[in-house]
């Protein structure tokens, strides 16, 4: 590293420019990572907070539309309740609805229909304001609903049906599903809304047997035998984290963002590779002189890679710090944005690691510089 440090200082403007590119890529990666985590929260935080191990959807539904298309009944619930290892099983109803508040403001809600005495109902300590589920038309909503100016005691009316629901409790923290605020509603009310019955009209009787899925919770240390349960209950069981793909837009959003990040890593590695290729070619004569003086290939390659590592680590750390600074500003806006240490650490490692690969591809040229070219001719 004798030569490397001195070259870094001597050619500081050139290294600075390249480092700035890597640093800016690092800023972008932080922003995308934050956006990615934010969208995940927006898409599935309501599901993540359920005490559920897996969902059993009706057999034959596709995962990406399971929450809107699947219908299960109480027989399937009973079949699952009888399975070994199942600690809790309950019907879970899911539906996205458009509603409006008392002053006509639009409120989109993801209804989570649960039986108030089941394990799915929000725990009392999760309710920050008001009370839990109980009243037939009472809903318990995500605290993000309060950003719309609604609170406990306010009434929302479901469009087209005219069903009136009253907010009886507000949950602690963000509970969203498909970018829409979650509202827990008693299962029976959910069934009436889901069947499309207008208030006061007769509901077809079998509607009170139906829900979207059977929510399962596994006893501590037990294994869920999904094959046996699915065959008994005629269902298709999906673990909770795989069920996220059933949230509207979730798979497409995460795929897009991951693809953009992938491209950024590739661009960064190529920029670093191109820079060090040009840099090595510029130094060809100096490398020949150093080799004539007896410097081994290993000595020169270590020097060059050490130099690349210094530039990469410094610019990545600075870029990420700037990105986290920007991110702190973003979290106070309505943008779905969340910074998490794990993905950021992975991103930093990828930027440095791939950059080093790019540099390594170019410094291979050092091995091919002929020390004989140090003799004769002037520069």
């Amino acid at each position: 590293m004798f030569l490397a440090w001195r070259e870094l200082w001597f050619a500081r403007s050139r290294f600075g420019l390249m480092g700035a590119v890597v640093g800016l890529v690092a800023v972008l990666v932080v922003m995308l990572s934050g956006l990615s985590s934010g969208l995940v929260n927006d898409g599935v935080s309501g599901l993540k907070k359920l005490p559920v191990t897996a969902f059993a959807f009706d057999d034959g539904t596709a995962v990406d539309s399971a929450f809107s298309r699947s219908t299960v009944d109480r027989d399937q619930l009973a079949a699952w309740s009888a399975q070994d290892g199942v600690a809790e099983a309950a019907l879970f109803g899911n539906q996205l609805v458009n509603a409006e508040g008392a002053n006509g403001e639009a409120v989109d809600l993801a209804l989570f229909g649960v039986e108030p005495d089941s394990f799915l109902a929000p725990a009392p300590d999760a309710v920050a304001d008001g009370e839990g589920l109980g009243d037939a038309t009472g809903i318990v909503v995500s605290d993000t609903v309060t950003e719309l100016g609604l609170g406990v005691g306010d009434t929302v009316t479901i469009e087209r049906l005219g069903t009136e629901l009253t907010i009886v409790g507000v949950l602690d923290g963000q509970h969203t599903f498909g970018h829409v605020d979650v509202a827990y509603v008693p299962l029976e009310t959910w069934q009436e809304i889901h069947s499309g019955a207008l208030p006061g009209t007769e509901v077809r009787p079998e509607a009170y047997d139906e829900a979207t899925a059977v929510a399962l919770s596994v006893a501590d240390g037990a294994e869920l035998d999904t094959a046996a349960g699915d065959s008994d209950a005629a269902t298709m069981t999906v673990p909770l984290d795989e069920s996220f793909d059933g949230s509207p837009g979730y798979a497409a959003e995460t795929l897009t963002l991951n693809l953009i990040q992938l491209f950024l890593y590739a661009i960064s590695a190529l920029v670093v590779g191109a820079f060090f290729t040009v840099w090595t070619i510029q130094r060809k004569h100096e490398i020949a002189v150093a080799r004539a003086m007896g410097a081994s290939t290993g000595y020169l390659v270590r020097d060059a890679l050490g130099q690349a590592a210094v530039v990469l680590v410094v610019s990545t750390v600075v870029g990420m710090a700037v990105g986290v600074g920007f991110g702190a500003l973003m979290t106070s806006t309505p943008m779905p944005f969340a910074l998490e240490a794990g993905p950021l650490a992975v991103a930093a490692a990828l930027l440095v690691g791939l950059g080093l690969l790019g540099a390594a591809a170019s410094v291979g040229r050092i091995a091919h510089v002929d020390p004989l070219t140090a003799l004769g001719g002037q520069r």
Binding site: E7, V289, M293, L372, A374, L375, G376, R379
Partner: protein
């Protein structure tokens, strides 16, 4: 031949000969277009002697330096540097021999642009894996000896051609080599600077007891040399 046995590089040889070429031939190219760059050259340079090799361009002077400096291997014949048979060494061992036993002075200095004058010398020591040169050759002291103490912290682009050559000579000497190979040191210098630089080479050669081979086409500076040989078409003619 004095019957010196082959030595591992880095050990101190017991020979009193700096450079020994015995019937060395070097052919370049292949097939129809082979060129005989060195044609049965034999040459011995003892420590403390400044030998000048003169001749027209294309006479094989650079090939002589390349073979003597362990940058390339001869097609036939034996090359010994400080008693070590170069042709028995692989590329890595030859590099080791170069950094410990051979000093190069290039045309117009060929200094590394990123390094100050004193760092040029420190780099040579770093490459050789030493902090201070053997015999306690301190970079700043050596720069003082070549008259460059006042510009020790300047980079090459801040130095004149003659100053760069002085730093180049100090850089070649700092690792205490047995053999100093000098490639056209006066090519970029005016007459007065040329005399100064070659005089400096002669002084240092005598003071440090190093065998020095200087390739040049500048007949003006030969008065400072201990011995002069002429080269033509790959053969020594004097």
């Amino acid at each position: 031949m004095t019957g010196t046995t082959q030595q591992a590089p880095g050990t101190t040889p017991t020979t009193t000969v700096g450079l020994e070429l015995d019937d060395v031939t070097l052919t370049l190219g292949d097939g129809d277009s082979t060129v005989t760059a060195l044609d049965h050259v034999s040459l011995t340079v003892p420590p403390g002697q400044l030998l000048a090799v003169v001749g027209p361009s294309g006479a094989g002077k650079s090939s002589l330096l390349a073979v003597a400096g362990a940058l390339g291997l001869p097609t036939a014949g034996v090359v010994r540097v400080a008693g070590v048979d170069v042709s028995a060494l692989n590329a890595a061992r030859r590099a080791d021999l170069r950094r410990r036993r051979i000093g190069f002075v290039f045309q117009s200095g060929n200094l590394l642009p990123a390094l100050t004058a004193v760092d040029q010398l420190r780099f040579a020591l770093h490459v050789a894996g030493e902090r201070v040169g053997r015999d306690g050759r301190d970079p700043r002291t050596l720069l003082g000896q070549v008259g460059m103490a006042h510009k020790a912290d300047r980079r090459p682009h801040e130095l004149s051609g003659g100053e760069r050559q002085r730093v180049g000579i100090a850089r070649a000497l700092v690792t205490a080599p047995a053999l100093l190979l000098v490639d056209e040191p006066t090519a970029a210098l005016d007459r007065a600077r040329s005399h100064e630089v070659v005089q400096l080479l002669a002084t240092e050669t005598h003071e440090y007891g190093v065998a020095t081979v200087m390739v040049t086409h500048d007949h003006d500076v030969l008065e400072h040399c201990d011995r002069v040989v002429e080269m033509e078409d790959g053969r020594l003619t004097a």
